[in-house]
Symmetry: C2
Subunit: 122 residues, 2 copies
């Protein structure tokens, strides 16, 4: 079973523009198949991979780094160490973001506390 670009857009929440853009940027693990006539045919696997990309993006991984990771995957077995390194580096980055966000949350909670009159103003 294959999906059109419009169906994939609906499923992933990405626009068709963005899907084509991501493809041009080399973010897809396997080249997207084409129907006679040149239209893209996506598989469920493609959608799954896009899901991973979306997660990596939304956690702040730049497109070039996602491409790098994609290329490692595309090359097949033999570079697991590099993939692991890349993921671990990103994990650190995510943990830093979580810490920073929590610090921000504290600032906000504090101010909300003040404005709700639960805390003395400073």
């Amino acid at each position: 079973m294959t999906l059109s670009i419009g169906q994939v857009a609906e499923r992933t929440g990405l626009s068709v523009h963005t899907l084509r853009f991501y493809e041009r940027e080399g973010l897809l693990a396997n080249p997207v198949r084409r129907a006679a006539g040149g239209r893209r045919l996506y598989t469920e696997d493609d959608v799954g991979w896009l899901g991973v990309c979306i997660r990596l993006r939304s956690s702040g991984m730049p497109l070039p780094v996602i491409r790098e990771y994609t290329e490692l995957v595309r090359q097949g077995p033999g570079n697991e160490k590099e993939r692991l390194d890349l993921l671990k580096r990103h994990r650190e980055h995510v943990l830093e973001q979580l810490a920073e966000l929590n610090a921000c949350l504290e600032v906000i909670e504090h101010k909300v506390g003040i404005y709700e009159g639960r805390l003395p103003d400073c």
Copy 2:
């Protein structure tokens, strides 16, 4: 005691360019004082406020919204409800980001687990 733009840059981690840019964008609660000769003189209060701005920014608040909040603060007492609304809206946004980041972290941990051989590949 006052600080030069360079000293504030050092303390906040923002560049002097960014400090001037933020001022132009209306992100400072009080207008920055000037020395004879036109140089900026920052107070500790200014640095404190910049710290808040940095936190709001790093948690994804767009500059125009920070300006909006700044303007409410600048107007003085009487608009606490609006400030509170704005902060609460942002708090929701931060909580969503935390949830999303945690979801990303799970994906990453899962993949790391696979590459470390602790999990069966899928």
